[in-house]
């Protein structure tokens, strides 16, 4: 025999039961329970919507409930700006730049050069180790 699962027994409120009636329950009971389930489901959906709305506002508040003196206030523009610059800083840190800075040598002079010889280069073989 199937047992009737009611909304009160559901541990995950985000997933309301769609078909809670069992085939063994009477029609009257089914109607009553279905109605109850429907009301509870609607309430939960609204609750979730409300929670989502508040969640989206959470970033605008500065909260700290970790200490014995909890702190809760609306963020001012500076805090929001600081957050933004942190994001920008992160972006900057992760970009590569290809900037060429031509710097002069520490000392430059002209010397007279006498070419002693011009010759074709000779190969000097470096034999590998450990092969």
């Amino acid at each position: 025999m199937y047992e009737l699962i009611t909304m009160q027994e559901v541990t995950t409120p985000a997933y309301p039961l769609q078909y809670p009636s069992s085939p063994s329950t009477s029609l009257e009971e089914m109607d009553r329970k279905d109605l109850l389930v429907s009301v509870i489901s609607n309430m939960m959906r609204q609750q979730n919507l409300r929670r989502g709305f508040y969640r989206s506002l959470m970033s605008a508040f500065e909260t700290d409930f970790s200490s014995i003196r909890p702190h809760f206030e609306i963020k001012n523009e500076t805090t929001l700006f600081e957050e933004r610059t942190e994001v920008e800083k992160f972006m900057e840190d992760n970009l590569e730049y290809d900037i060429i800075v031509h710097l002069p040598p520490t000392r430059e002079r002209i010397v007279k050069v006498k070419v002693k010889s011009i010759e074709n280069a000779e190969l000097r073989v470096v034999e590998p180790e450990g092969i």
Binding site: V111, K112, V115, E119, L123, V126, E127, P128, I131
Partner: protein, 174 residues
């Protein structure tokens, strides 16, 4: 089947990575240069391949261009018993000899070469303007084509970035 030729012949002022320049003069200074005296220098001519990145050359982001000497494989065979044998040449072909990179023969009419070996042990830098003037005066030259060009560049990077460990992990016996 798609063909991937190793080389092409170019006659252009544009210098790219993988361009071969024959008889490129490299100035060898004396061990010491004093202020008062004239400087005696040697000039050695090398057949070289351009190692600097093409984009750095094209956008003139560098003043000096890196070049490495290129030798025909038979020179290695003449000078070294290791490379004379099959094992040495096979190690070279497999890319297991750090500091040297083997390139294929060129069979283009008038530009035939032996297998070529690029020597990463001796890297020279020559002024870009000097190199451009040099290629303008020279005859058409060979150019290494992708992906062999990038393969050469990768081999150079591998040679340059290698790290010698003071204490290595001993080889496994079983």
């Amino acid at each position: 089947m798609v063909e991937h030729p190793w080389y092409e012949v170019v006659k252009s002022d544009e210098v790219l990575q993988g361009d071969f320049i024959k008889g490129c003069p490299v100035i060898i200074p004396p061990p010491e240069i004093s202020d008062s005296e004239d400087v005696d220098v040697k000039v050695k001519n090398y057949d070289v391949v351009v190692m600097s990145q093409s984009c750095d050359i094209a956008q003139r982001k560098i003043d000096l261009v890196l070049i490495c000497p290129v030798w025909p494989l038979r020179k290695f065979e003449e000078k070294s018993s290791f490379f004379k044998g099959k094992d040495g040449k096979e190690a070279l072909r497999r890319g297991n000899v750090h500091g040297y990179h083997l390139l294929n023969k060129c069979e283009i009419d008038g530009f035939e070469t032996d297998y070529l070996v690029v020597d990463f042990h001796n890297i020279y830098a020559i002024p870009l303007d000097f190199l451009i003037t040099l290629v303008q005066k020279k005859e058409p030259r060979l150019r290494l084509l992708p992906p062999y060009r990038e393969h050469l560049s990768q081999a150079f990077a591998r040679f340059f970035m290698r790290v010698g460990l003071p204490v290595d992990i001993p080889p496994f016996k079983k």
